[in-house]
Protein backbone atom coordinates (compact mmCIF):
# COMPACT_ATOMS: atom_id res chain seq x y z
CA UNK A 1 0.00 0.00 0.00
CA UNK A 2 1.18 3.50 -0.82
CA UNK A 3 2.31 5.58 2.14
CA UNK A 4 0.61 8.61 0.65
CA UNK A 5 -1.76 9.22 -2.22
CA UNK A 6 -3.48 12.37 -3.46
CA UNK A 7 -6.25 12.56 -5.99
CA UNK A 8 -6.84 15.72 -8.02
CA UNK A 9 -5.63 17.91 -5.18
CA UNK A 10 -6.39 21.63 -5.40
CA UNK A 11 -5.64 24.62 -3.24
CA UNK A 12 -6.80 28.06 -4.33
CA UNK A 13 -6.25 31.40 -2.68
CA UNK A 14 -8.27 34.47 -3.47
CA UNK A 15 -6.25 37.63 -3.51
CA UNK A 16 -8.61 40.55 -4.11
CA UNK A 17 -10.31 39.70 -7.41
CA UNK A 18 -7.73 37.13 -8.48
CA UNK A 19 -7.90 33.42 -7.82
CA UNK A 20 -4.45 31.91 -7.41
CA UNK A 21 -4.30 28.17 -8.10
CA UNK A 22 -1.31 27.34 -5.91
CA UNK A 23 -1.93 23.60 -6.25
CA UNK A 24 -3.87 22.77 -9.38
CA UNK A 25 -4.86 19.15 -9.73
CA UNK A 26 -2.07 17.02 -8.33
CA UNK A 27 -2.14 13.22 -8.30
CA UNK A 28 0.80 12.02 -6.29
CA UNK A 29 1.58 8.56 -4.98
CA UNK A 30 4.47 7.86 -2.65
CA UNK A 31 5.28 4.18 -2.29
CA UNK A 32 6.62 2.52 0.84
CA UNK A 33 10.19 3.61 1.44
CA UNK A 34 10.17 5.86 -1.61
CA UNK A 35 12.04 9.17 -1.73
CA UNK A 36 10.35 11.76 -3.94
CA UNK A 37 11.57 15.29 -4.47
CA UNK A 38 9.62 18.22 -5.85
CA UNK A 39 11.48 21.02 -7.59
CA UNK A 40 10.34 24.20 -9.20
CA UNK A 41 10.80 27.96 -9.17
CA UNK A 42 9.56 29.92 -6.17
CA UNK A 43 5.82 30.42 -6.36
CA UNK A 44 5.23 27.19 -8.30
CA UNK A 45 3.19 25.77 -5.41
CA UNK A 46 5.63 23.18 -4.11
CA UNK A 47 5.58 24.41 -0.51
CA UNK A 48 1.80 24.70 -0.52
CA UNK A 49 1.65 21.09 -1.73
CA UNK A 50 3.89 19.96 1.12
CA UNK A 51 1.83 21.89 3.66
CA UNK A 52 -1.33 20.18 2.37
CA UNK A 53 0.34 16.76 2.67
CA UNK A 54 1.45 17.54 6.20
CA UNK A 55 -1.89 18.93 7.33
CA UNK A 56 -0.53 22.44 7.87
CA UNK A 57 -3.04 23.67 5.30
CA UNK A 58 -6.35 22.27 4.00
CA UNK A 59 -7.11 21.59 0.33
CA UNK A 60 -9.86 23.40 -1.57
CA UNK A 61 -10.80 20.08 -3.17
CA UNK A 62 -9.38 16.63 -3.86
CA UNK A 63 -8.32 13.74 -1.66
CA UNK A 64 -5.34 12.93 0.55
CA UNK A 65 -4.88 9.36 1.71
CA UNK A 66 -2.31 8.55 4.35
CA UNK A 67 -1.96 4.78 4.14
CA UNK A 68 -5.51 3.50 4.38
CA UNK A 69 -6.92 6.66 5.98
CA UNK A 70 -8.48 9.45 3.98
CA UNK A 71 -7.31 12.45 5.97
CA UNK A 72 -8.67 15.46 4.09
CA UNK A 73 -12.10 14.80 5.57
CA UNK A 74 -10.93 14.33 9.13
CA UNK A 75 -11.83 16.87 11.78
CA UNK A 76 -8.98 19.16 12.80
CA UNK A 77 -8.27 17.37 16.10
CA UNK A 78 -8.31 13.88 14.56
CA UNK A 79 -5.98 14.96 11.73
CA UNK A 80 -3.65 16.55 14.27
CA UNK A 81 -3.49 13.35 16.33
CA UNK A 82 -2.83 11.25 13.28
CA UNK A 83 -0.11 13.40 11.81
CA UNK A 84 1.69 13.68 15.13
CA UNK A 85 2.34 9.96 14.94
CA UNK A 86 2.61 9.39 11.23
CA UNK A 87 4.19 12.47 9.69
CA UNK A 88 7.47 14.16 10.49
CA UNK A 89 8.07 17.68 9.21
CA UNK A 90 11.41 19.42 8.64
CA UNK A 91 11.45 23.13 7.82
CA UNK A 92 14.00 25.42 6.22
CA UNK A 93 14.34 27.54 9.38
CA UNK A 94 14.31 24.56 11.78
CA UNK A 95 11.30 25.78 13.88
CA UNK A 96 12.91 24.57 17.09
CA UNK A 97 11.90 25.88 20.49
CA UNK A 98 14.85 28.07 21.38
CA UNK A 99 14.57 27.88 25.15
CA UNK A 100 14.38 24.09 25.25
CA UNK A 101 17.51 21.97 24.95
CA UNK A 102 18.07 19.89 21.82
CA UNK A 103 17.04 16.81 23.81
CA UNK A 104 13.84 18.44 25.08
CA UNK A 105 12.93 19.53 21.55
CA UNK A 106 12.82 15.82 20.68
CA UNK A 107 11.20 14.60 23.87
CA UNK A 108 8.28 17.00 23.77
CA UNK A 109 6.59 15.68 20.61
CA UNK A 110 7.24 12.10 21.78
CA UNK A 111 5.42 12.77 25.04
CA UNK A 112 2.61 14.53 23.16
CA UNK A 113 2.21 11.43 21.04
CA UNK A 114 1.84 9.24 24.11
CA UNK A 115 5.34 8.05 24.99
CA UNK A 116 6.27 7.76 28.66
CA UNK A 117 8.89 10.28 29.86
CA UNK A 118 11.36 7.40 30.09
CA UNK A 119 10.65 6.20 26.53
CA UNK A 120 10.80 9.76 25.24
CA UNK A 121 14.19 10.31 26.90
CA UNK A 122 15.60 7.06 25.49
CA UNK A 123 14.38 7.71 21.96
CA UNK A 124 15.62 11.31 21.99
CA UNK A 125 19.04 10.19 23.22
CA UNK A 126 19.33 7.42 20.62
CA UNK A 127 18.31 9.69 17.76
CA UNK A 128 20.68 12.49 18.72
CA UNK A 129 23.48 9.92 18.90
CA UNK A 130 22.60 8.56 15.47
CA UNK A 131 22.55 12.07 14.06
CA UNK A 132 26.00 12.72 15.47
CA UNK A 133 24.99 15.39 17.98
CA UNK A 134 24.63 13.30 21.12
CA UNK A 135 27.34 15.39 22.78
CA UNK A 136 25.25 18.53 22.30
CA UNK A 137 21.97 17.15 23.63
CA UNK A 138 21.95 19.69 26.45
CA UNK A 139 22.61 22.73 24.25
CA UNK A 140 19.96 25.28 23.38
CA UNK A 141 19.31 25.72 19.63
CA UNK A 142 20.86 29.23 19.49
CA UNK A 143 24.12 27.72 20.73
CA UNK A 144 24.21 25.31 17.76
CA UNK A 145 25.31 25.84 14.15
CA UNK A 146 22.73 25.79 11.36
CA UNK A 147 23.67 22.26 10.35
CA UNK A 148 23.41 21.07 13.96
CA UNK A 149 20.04 22.72 14.40
CA UNK A 150 18.73 21.04 11.27
CA UNK A 151 19.95 17.70 12.61
CA UNK A 152 18.01 18.35 15.83
CA UNK A 153 14.97 19.23 13.72
CA UNK A 154 15.34 15.98 11.76
CA UNK A 155 15.55 14.11 15.07
CA UNK A 156 12.37 15.81 16.23
CA UNK A 157 10.63 14.85 12.98
CA UNK A 158 11.65 11.21 13.45
CA UNK A 159 10.99 10.81 17.15
CA UNK A 160 7.57 9.19 16.64
CA UNK A 161 8.81 6.94 13.83
CA UNK A 162 6.61 8.51 11.17
CA UNK A 163 5.50 6.68 8.01
CA UNK A 164 6.38 9.77 6.01
CA UNK A 165 9.01 12.45 6.42
CA UNK A 166 8.22 15.79 4.77
CA UNK A 167 11.04 18.28 4.24
CA UNK A 168 10.51 21.84 3.03
CA UNK A 169 13.81 23.32 1.72
CA UNK A 170 15.72 21.54 4.53
CA UNK A 171 19.06 22.86 3.27
CA UNK A 172 17.84 26.30 2.25
CA UNK A 173 19.57 28.05 5.15
CA UNK A 174 22.70 25.90 5.19
CA UNK A 175 26.17 26.30 3.73
CA UNK A 176 27.54 23.74 1.30
CA UNK A 177 29.19 21.56 3.94
CA UNK A 178 26.11 21.39 6.20
CA UNK A 179 23.98 20.76 3.10
CA UNK A 180 26.10 17.72 2.28
CA UNK A 181 25.72 16.47 5.87
CA UNK A 182 21.94 16.81 5.79
CA UNK A 183 21.80 15.08 2.39
CA UNK A 184 23.88 12.21 3.76
CA UNK A 185 21.50 11.86 6.70
CA UNK A 186 18.45 11.84 4.42
CA UNK A 187 20.19 9.27 2.21
CA UNK A 188 20.84 7.02 5.21
CA UNK A 189 17.24 7.34 6.42
CA UNK A 190 16.03 6.46 2.94
CA UNK A 191 18.30 3.42 2.83
CA UNK A 192 16.80 2.34 6.14
CA UNK A 193 13.36 2.44 4.49
CA UNK A 194 12.05 5.89 5.40
CA UNK A 195 9.57 7.36 2.90
CA UNK A 196 10.44 10.99 2.20
CA UNK A 197 8.93 13.87 0.25
CA UNK A 198 11.34 16.75 -0.12
CA UNK A 199 10.70 20.15 -1.66
CA UNK A 200 13.60 22.28 -2.90
CA UNK A 201 14.70 24.64 -5.63
CA UNK A 202 18.25 23.24 -5.52
CA UNK A 203 18.87 20.57 -8.20
CA UNK A 204 21.74 19.03 -6.25
CA UNK A 205 19.41 18.42 -3.31
CA UNK A 206 16.51 17.30 -5.50
CA UNK A 207 18.56 14.70 -7.34
CA UNK A 208 19.25 12.71 -4.16
CA UNK A 209 15.71 11.28 -4.48
CA UNK A 210 14.46 8.21 -6.36
CA UNK A 211 12.11 10.33 -8.42
CA UNK A 212 12.03 14.04 -9.12
CA UNK A 213 8.87 15.95 -9.95
CA UNK A 214 9.06 19.36 -11.58
CA UNK A 215 6.23 21.75 -10.70
CA UNK A 216 5.13 24.86 -12.48
CA UNK A 217 2.02 26.96 -11.84
CA UNK A 218 0.57 24.47 -9.38
CA UNK A 219 0.96 21.45 -11.63
CA UNK A 220 3.45 18.64 -11.99
CA UNK A 221 4.82 19.20 -15.49
CA UNK A 222 7.63 16.69 -15.61
CA UNK A 223 8.95 13.63 -13.86
CA UNK A 224 12.54 12.34 -13.80
CA UNK A 225 13.26 8.86 -12.43
CA UNK A 226 16.64 8.86 -10.69
CA UNK A 227 16.71 5.61 -8.75
CA UNK A 228 17.71 2.18 -9.95
CA UNK A 229 20.25 1.87 -12.70
CA UNK A 230 22.04 5.12 -13.26
CA UNK A 231 24.49 6.33 -15.84
CA UNK A 232 27.69 4.62 -14.82
CA UNK A 233 29.99 7.58 -14.56
CA UNK A 234 33.62 7.42 -13.55
CA UNK A 235 35.77 10.22 -12.26
CA UNK A 236 37.69 9.76 -15.49
CA UNK A 237 34.71 11.06 -17.45
CA UNK A 238 34.74 14.48 -15.80
CA UNK A 239 37.80 16.00 -17.41
CA UNK A 240 38.70 16.51 -21.01
CA UNK A 241 42.13 15.31 -21.91
Amino acid sequence: MAVLRTVDLHRQFTVGETVVRAVDGIDLTVGEGEFVSVMGPSGCGKSTLLHLLGGLDRPTSGEIHLGEVRVDRLKEAAWARLRRRRIGFVFQDYNLIDDLSARDNLELPAVFAGASPRQARDRAGDLLDQLGIGAKAGALPPQLSGGERQRVAIGRALVNEPDLLLADEPTGALDSRATTEVLQILGRLHEAGQAIVLVTHDPRVATTADRLLTMRDGQVVDETPLGGRRTALALGDLLER
Binding site: T207, T208, D222, L233
Partner: protein, 171 residues
Protein backbone atom coordinates in the same frame (compact mmCIF):
# COMPACT_ATOMS: atom_id res chain seq x y z
CA UNK B 1 48.30 14.15 -23.62
CA UNK B 2 50.94 16.00 -25.73
CA UNK B 3 51.20 18.87 -23.30
CA UNK B 4 50.96 16.65 -20.25
CA UNK B 5 54.03 14.76 -21.48
CA UNK B 6 55.91 17.97 -22.27
CA UNK B 7 55.14 19.25 -18.77
CA UNK B 8 56.35 16.03 -17.16
CA UNK B 9 59.54 16.01 -19.26
CA UNK B 10 60.28 19.63 -18.32
CA UNK B 11 60.88 18.36 -14.78
CA UNK B 12 63.25 15.55 -15.81
CA UNK B 13 64.04 13.24 -18.66
CA UNK B 14 62.22 9.95 -18.56
CA UNK B 15 61.35 6.85 -20.52
CA UNK B 16 57.86 5.90 -21.58
CA UNK B 17 56.95 3.70 -18.66
CA UNK B 18 58.10 6.32 -16.15
CA UNK B 19 55.86 8.86 -17.87
CA UNK B 20 52.90 6.51 -17.61
CA UNK B 21 53.54 6.18 -13.88
CA UNK B 22 53.92 9.94 -13.48
CA UNK B 23 50.63 10.63 -15.29
CA UNK B 24 48.88 8.12 -13.05
CA UNK B 25 50.41 9.66 -9.93
CA UNK B 26 49.18 13.13 -10.91
CA UNK B 27 45.71 12.28 -12.16
CA UNK B 28 45.11 8.81 -10.79
CA UNK B 29 41.38 8.28 -10.64
CA UNK B 30 40.62 11.33 -12.79
CA UNK B 31 41.91 9.85 -16.03
CA UNK B 32 41.02 6.46 -17.37
CA UNK B 33 43.94 4.02 -17.17
CA UNK B 34 46.74 5.25 -19.44
CA UNK B 35 47.96 2.80 -22.00
CA UNK B 36 51.72 2.78 -22.42
CA UNK B 37 51.36 2.33 -26.20
CA UNK B 38 49.48 5.61 -26.36
CA UNK B 39 52.35 7.29 -24.52
CA UNK B 40 54.94 5.95 -26.96
CA UNK B 41 52.80 6.99 -29.92
CA UNK B 42 52.51 10.53 -28.57
CA UNK B 43 56.25 10.62 -27.83
CA UNK B 44 56.94 9.54 -31.41
CA UNK B 45 54.86 12.42 -32.75
CA UNK B 46 56.51 14.89 -30.38
CA UNK B 47 59.91 13.69 -31.56
CA UNK B 48 58.90 14.02 -35.22
CA UNK B 49 57.81 17.60 -34.45
CA UNK B 50 61.17 18.30 -32.83
CA UNK B 51 59.70 18.96 -29.39
CA UNK B 52 61.50 16.07 -27.68
CA UNK B 53 64.57 14.01 -28.50
CA UNK B 54 65.51 10.55 -27.40
CA UNK B 55 68.71 8.74 -26.55
CA UNK B 56 69.27 5.05 -26.00
CA UNK B 57 70.68 4.26 -22.61
CA UNK B 58 72.36 0.91 -22.14
CA UNK B 59 71.19 -1.25 -19.27
CA UNK B 60 73.21 -4.04 -17.74
CA UNK B 61 70.87 -7.01 -17.92
CA UNK B 62 68.05 -5.68 -20.10
CA UNK B 63 67.65 -4.16 -23.56
CA UNK B 64 68.54 -0.48 -23.99
CA UNK B 65 65.92 1.96 -22.84
CA UNK B 66 64.91 5.02 -24.75
CA UNK B 67 65.06 8.15 -22.59
CA UNK B 68 63.26 11.27 -23.74
CA UNK B 69 64.13 14.88 -23.01
CA UNK B 70 62.60 18.20 -23.89
CA UNK B 71 64.18 20.26 -26.70
CA UNK B 72 64.27 24.07 -26.69
CA UNK B 73 61.33 24.06 -29.11
CA UNK B 74 59.47 21.72 -26.75
CA UNK B 75 60.08 24.06 -23.83
CA UNK B 76 58.82 26.96 -25.93
CA UNK B 77 55.68 25.02 -26.92
CA UNK B 78 55.03 24.17 -23.25
CA UNK B 79 55.41 27.82 -22.17
CA UNK B 80 52.96 28.98 -24.83
CA UNK B 81 50.43 26.34 -23.76
CA UNK B 82 50.82 27.12 -20.04
CA UNK B 83 50.56 30.88 -20.53
CA UNK B 84 47.48 30.75 -22.70
CA UNK B 85 44.16 30.84 -20.82
CA UNK B 86 41.98 27.86 -21.69
CA UNK B 87 39.00 28.81 -23.87
CA UNK B 88 35.99 29.87 -21.82
CA UNK B 89 33.23 27.26 -21.56
CA UNK B 90 30.92 27.57 -24.51
CA UNK B 91 27.16 27.52 -24.40
CA UNK B 92 26.02 23.93 -24.94
CA UNK B 93 25.69 24.71 -28.59
CA UNK B 94 24.31 21.43 -29.89
CA UNK B 95 21.24 21.68 -27.69
CA UNK B 96 20.90 25.39 -28.35
CA UNK B 97 21.05 24.84 -32.11
CA UNK B 98 18.38 22.17 -31.85
CA UNK B 99 16.20 24.36 -29.68
CA UNK B 100 16.38 27.35 -31.99
CA UNK B 101 16.05 25.49 -35.28
CA UNK B 102 13.51 22.91 -34.19
CA UNK B 103 11.16 25.52 -32.83
CA UNK B 104 11.67 27.84 -35.78
CA UNK B 105 10.97 25.01 -38.22
CA UNK B 106 8.12 23.87 -35.97
CA UNK B 107 9.36 20.29 -36.02
CA UNK B 108 9.41 20.09 -32.22
CA UNK B 109 7.89 21.74 -29.21
CA UNK B 110 10.66 23.73 -27.53
CA UNK B 111 9.25 22.95 -24.08
CA UNK B 112 9.46 19.23 -24.80
CA UNK B 113 13.10 19.66 -25.84
CA UNK B 114 13.83 21.66 -22.70
CA UNK B 115 12.17 19.08 -20.44
CA UNK B 116 14.08 16.25 -22.06
CA UNK B 117 17.38 18.11 -21.75
CA UNK B 118 16.63 18.93 -18.12
CA UNK B 119 15.98 15.27 -17.32
CA UNK B 120 19.33 14.39 -18.89
CA UNK B 121 21.11 17.09 -16.87
CA UNK B 122 19.39 16.02 -13.65
CA UNK B 123 20.37 12.40 -14.13
CA UNK B 124 23.91 13.49 -14.90
CA UNK B 125 23.95 15.64 -11.78
CA UNK B 126 22.89 12.65 -9.73
CA UNK B 127 25.66 10.53 -11.24
CA UNK B 128 28.23 13.22 -10.56
CA UNK B 129 27.17 13.76 -6.95
CA UNK B 130 27.29 9.99 -6.42
CA UNK B 131 30.91 10.18 -7.54
CA UNK B 132 31.71 12.58 -4.73
CA UNK B 133 31.89 9.59 -2.37
CA UNK B 134 34.66 8.00 -4.41
CA UNK B 135 36.66 11.20 -4.93
CA UNK B 136 39.38 10.95 -2.33
CA UNK B 137 42.09 13.35 -3.46
CA UNK B 138 41.91 17.14 -3.70
CA UNK B 139 42.09 17.13 -7.50
CA UNK B 140 39.21 14.66 -7.73
CA UNK B 141 37.08 16.64 -5.27
CA UNK B 142 37.66 19.85 -7.23
CA UNK B 143 36.77 18.08 -10.49
CA UNK B 144 33.49 16.82 -9.01
CA UNK B 145 32.67 20.26 -7.66
CA UNK B 146 33.38 21.81 -11.05
CA UNK B 147 31.09 19.34 -12.79
CA UNK B 148 28.32 20.01 -10.26
CA UNK B 149 28.60 23.78 -10.70
CA UNK B 150 28.56 23.48 -14.50
CA UNK B 151 25.45 21.31 -14.41
CA UNK B 152 23.72 23.67 -11.99
CA UNK B 153 24.43 26.56 -14.34
CA UNK B 154 23.15 24.56 -17.33
CA UNK B 155 19.94 23.78 -15.42
CA UNK B 156 19.47 27.42 -14.51
CA UNK B 157 19.95 28.38 -18.12
CA UNK B 158 17.31 25.82 -19.22
CA UNK B 159 14.96 27.51 -16.76
CA UNK B 160 15.64 30.82 -18.49
CA UNK B 161 15.00 29.25 -21.92
CA UNK B 162 11.76 27.85 -20.60
CA UNK B 163 10.63 31.20 -19.21
CA UNK B 164 11.42 32.84 -22.52
CA UNK B 165 9.33 30.32 -24.45
CA UNK B 166 6.39 30.17 -22.03
CA UNK B 167 6.01 33.93 -21.93
CA UNK B 168 5.44 33.71 -25.68
CA UNK B 169 8.79 35.04 -26.82
CA UNK B 170 9.33 34.96 -30.57
CA UNK B 171 12.72 34.72 -32.19
Amino acid sequence: MRHALLALLSKESAHGYELKQAVEAEFGELWPPVNVGQIYKTLGRLEADGLVRSANVAQASRPDKKVFELTAAGREELTVWIDQPAPAVRVKDEFFTKLVLASRAKVADPLVLIDRQRRAHLRQLRSVTDLADTASGLAARLAVEGAVLHLQADLKWLERCEQAFTTGGEF
